[in-house]
């Protein structure tokens, strides 16, 4: 028999298998890009840190101490050498020897290995609300004495714990990237989607606008918009306003990607088929087209986040973005942005390292995702 009839059950089966295998295929392609896999874990770690900031940060990011301004990193030691020379597990940090040099106007610190300050994991703390709603009263790490120094990564110019500030800054910086991209995505999908689906004058108009915005140097746009923000806004309002400003410029790239995909999908057979079946535009877009390029959108969005994070730091550098007392990587870097810090307190550049790592990770993750989603597309 040349042609066999196929039962409905069999007809359904291959499609299911096919979809699964497409995801599996994507995952397989993604895994080929080992850098992307490593990056994925890094990104997850960073967002976990952002989510659990209050729990992970040893101290309040604004808690200062006159005695420990510019204290260098203590490092965290896990093992302690006993008197008999053996090693035992005892997480600890070392205290400081410090003196004030009135002529040079500074405190000098030497980490003193003689002074051992034990570190407790899951140390009890003042009660706080994790992520704003989960009441907790335990922190990942802590020291016993309230006046004992605990600066694993060192202290800033007011004797505030850099590690804690870094962890809290992670939350602001990463969420601003995420929120900005979400907004951009919204604009991008709506505008780019309509342009790509309907084409014609609307498409040309949108594309001209996109081209125009992309041909403007961004700094003056940022400057102008940031300077125009109502100045009596609170930190939170400014935060959202900055997000919106970033996404006002960021949406263009995503709109372009979405439009491109729409344009190429519009002529695909399955869309034509759906149109012939009399499906509504909305249904076609949401049921047929959007799912078919979700992976691209995710990849493009991932690749847009680093730009947002960098933009946040750049705006802070220019003194137009978030400002102290808000703690973000940008504001932390702005505080470290001077020769004094480079020369005498280089540990304060740690936020820079975080920026580099997360940006590399997001880029490679996005690249891997894109490669995996569409090995031939761009």
């Amino acid at each position: 028999m040349a042609v066999e009839t196929i039962s409905p059950a069999e007809a359904a089966a291959p499609r299911k298998i096919r979809r699964e295998s497409q995801l599996a295929l994507m995952w397989r392609r993604f895994r080929q890009h080992q850098l992307a896999v490593v990056s994925l874990w890094l990104v997850i770690t960073f967002y976990l840190i952002a989510a659990l900031a209050e729990f992970l940060a040893p101290t309040d990011p604004s808690a200062y101490s006159a005695r420990f301004t510019y204290a260098p990193p203590q490092g965290l030691h896990l093992f302690l050498q006993n008197e008999d020379g053996g090693w035992s597990f005892q997480p600890h940090v070392n205290g400081y020897k410090s003196e004030v040099d009135p002529q040079a106007m500074r405190r000098t610190f030497v980490v003193d290995p003689e002074v051992v300050i034990p570190v407790r994991f899951f140390a009890p703390s003042e009660p706080y609300q994790l992520a704003g709603f989960i009441p907790m009263s335990v922190k990942l790490m802590g020291v016993e004495g309230p006046r004992d120094p605990f600066y694993i990564l060192g202290a800033d110019r007011l004797g505030r714990d850099l590690l804690s500030r870094l962890i809290h800054g992670t939350r602001i910086s990463l969420s601003i990237g995420l929120a900005g991209v979400t907004l951009s995505l919204l604009f991008g999908i709506i505008i780019g989607g309509f342009a790509g689906f309907y084409g014609g004058w609307f498409d040309s108009a949108v594309m001209r606008i996109v081209e125009f915005i992309r041909s403007m140097p961004t700094i003056p746009l940022w400057l102008g918009l940031a300077a125009a923000l109502p100045k009596d806004w609170t930190a939170l309002q400014t935060y959202f306003a900055i997000t919106i400003i970033l996404s006002l410029i960021g949406w263009t790239e995503l709109a372009r990607v979405v439009r491109g995909r729409f344009l190429s999908l519009r002529t695909e057979d399955f869309v034509t088929a759906a149109q012939l079946d009399g499906a509504s535009d909305w249904r076609i877009i949401t049921r047929h087209m959007v799912p078919s390029f979700t992976s691209h959108i995710i990849a493009a969005a991932t690749l847009a986040i680093p730009g947002m994070i960098l933009a946040e730091t750049a705006l802070s550098f220019l003194g137009l973005g978030l400002q102290a007392p808000i703690v973000s990587w940008g504001t932390l870097l702005q505080e470290a942005q001077n020769i004094r810090t480079l020369a005498t307190a280089p540990w304060l550049l740690a936020p820079g390292i975080c920026v580099v790592v997360i940006i590399l990770a997001l880029n490679f993750f996005g690249d891997g995702l894109r490669d995996a989603a569409d090995p031939h597309g761009r």
């Binding site: 110019r157 007011l158 102290a324 001077n338 020769i339 004094r340």
Partner: protein
Amino acid sequence: MRMNHLSGLAGAVALTAIVAAAGPSWAQQQAPMLDALVESGELPPVEERLPANPLVVEPVESIGTYGGTWRSALRGGLDNAWIARTVAYDGLVRYNREWDEIIPNLAESWEVSEDSRTYTFKLREGLKWNNGTPFTSADIAFAVELMSEPSYGAGTFIKNPNNPVTVEVIDETTFSFVFENPNGLIMDDLASVNGFTVVSLNKEYCSQFYPKYNPDAEANAQAAGFQTWELHMQDRCSWATETIRWANPDLPMMNPWMIEEPLTGDATRTTFVRNPYYWKVDTEGNQLPYIDRLSMRVSDSLEEITLMALNGEIDFQDRHIATVANQPLFFDGQEAGDYRLGANVPSTSNTLVLQFNMNHVDEKRRELFQNKDFRIGVSHLLDRQEIIDVVFTGQGEPFQVAPRPESPFYDEEFAKQYTEFDPDAAAAAFEAAGLVKSGDVYTFADGTPLQITIDLIASFRSEWVDMMELMQLQLEAGGLDIELNNIDRTLYYDKRPLGDYDAQIWQGDGGLDVVQEPRYYFPANGESVWAFRWQAWYNGANPEIAEEPAEWARNQMDLYTQLRAEGDPEVRSDLMKQILEISKENFPVIGVSLPGNGYYIAKNNMRNIAEPMLHAYLFPTPGPYDPFQWYFAAE
């Protein structure tokens, strides 16, 4: 006219005496770089270039040697103030190095009329602009005439609507300022950084841009690409120390150095070279300045300037780089950079002035902020020593907004009142002020919540943010709900007339220049943010928001009005003391700490630099310390 017992006069007489005694025996010397020019006949010999009676300057340490280039840096192309401080501090008169006396400069003597309305100056005989043309009374008259022009945007005392001035030219070297009303502060105006304005224009050169003297001026301006003659004038003959002035090398000057490479908009460096006609000599009759050239790098990057200083590429500078934060860096780098640090004594009385708005538009807040007990309470809640330790590494002492210890007006009680950290006293004071505690925080007596927003501009002083963050925590610990509002400077100014701010902060101006800058002692000017509507009443500006001040403030204003019209320094001083007494009694603003000494950076081979120096704006450090007698010692 009688000779007023002006303090400046004694110095003038003394110096004239030296000149008269030593004059004839001098063989006047000039810098070697000028020798060739004199030989070639391009320049007349030094005797002919100097006035008959040059100003003799006593070097700080020793007679210097000629030569060298003084390297420094401007922060961006608009940093004209550094030029004003180094090149341009030359008015009719100047302050002595102790800032307690006004001494002769271009004018060798002056007289004040009995009614303090007419000030008559006698210029040195034979003064010349750097192009060799004579400097006369006519140049002064021209400057005043031009700047009195309503459409011309120049200010200072010349344009004071309350007290217009005219110039009477008596002869080439004698002229009078004639004021409509008595003027007691004019000598300080002339001795300050602003004094340069009246001696900055050469009539011969600048009158060509002035339609009054040149009928084609308007047309020439258009042809040169300017919309009006005023813009053209401003471009060619800018008043005082405006940036644009240093972009025109043709503009004649009376300063120790003259423009060599102009400070144009795209300049990356500006240089000044010695003025061969400079009219000052040292005690051995050597024509000043000692240093041949000034080279100022135009740098937008503070970090670059800092590195240049560390690298020994700056010979003397304090502006911009000598910050608290950089001090350890510069201290450590002294040997490698071959420079030393010298002390700058700031003129400000305080690191931070907390000004509650006594003219708040909200009735309840206005009443609270006007209540002295409330301010006392706030003051007692501040742990000033902790702030000094954390932010200033222990430099400084708790201090109110009062004259500095170096000032003749210093009053320890005024400076120290309510500075001890005392939460109990604070609680008592708040109770007296009518606040009630609900839970941990204070509210108004009727129970409405009290949140106080303090405006600050972080970009001006980085330590303000640090200080305010600590103060916020301290005040909150004492039960006050404080919100910090880091705002843009434009808004900072726009808010003032609106009157809806709770409090703003600024630095403590007027610590040494007590009389000239009394903004915190009574509602004196637009910078008296704590009583903006009262000062509007006093100054007649913004009449729509002006409010009649409280009685004590009105008394102060009356006293200051008298002071302004008083020619006698002793009487002025007494009047000021009365104003300060009222201020101490009413405690209008809250201070934190006395600023520790600042510092300057000078190469080790740079000599004759005073140490320490007073540092202020009106007394434009290092100008009054005579940079023209600084020199580079041979190694």
